[in-house]
Symmetry: C2
Subunit: 91 residues, 2 copies
Amino acid sequence: MNDVIGGEGDQTSQLSDEELSRLAHDLKTPLAMIVGYAELLDTRDDEEIRREAPQLIMQAAERLSSALDQLLESLEAEAAETGSSNQNVEP
Amino acid sequence: MNDVIGGEGDQTSQLSDEELSRLAHDLKTPLAMIVGYAELLDTRDDEEIRREAPQLIMQAAERLSSALDQLLESLEAEAAETGSSNQNVEP
């Protein structure tokens, strides 16, 4: 898994616009896949879909989960940091 | 949907620990439900599960999606704010 957050230096682990849009992509892509497979399961009575879609949903959920964990860790770190020393970053 | 983020005042839309853990909960609960239903679909050959689980997955995905949108909007707002005026919050 690539390091989405706080790559360049340690400036308050603030997310850049670029990091944010990559993050949004990393979270929304697997979610869209989950919805797509669930819709297939809901609308089609197909043996292959029934066999494969649940596993594909689980794989997408795992991707989403790890992107989410990464984001939440970064937000926790940021909260801890700015909570204790908000204006003391650098003049 | 309740306002998870930035409820109290406008201090840099920084997330508090409490908001963070509520947020984590709002994101992880539907994700865990998605995984649970997908596992049921994967392991059980049951008519009722086959009929209901896909819709429950879509409902959970929708909850997750709106929690996610809320979070991303807040992060974008925060990035815009601190990006333009990082150390100028208040002395």
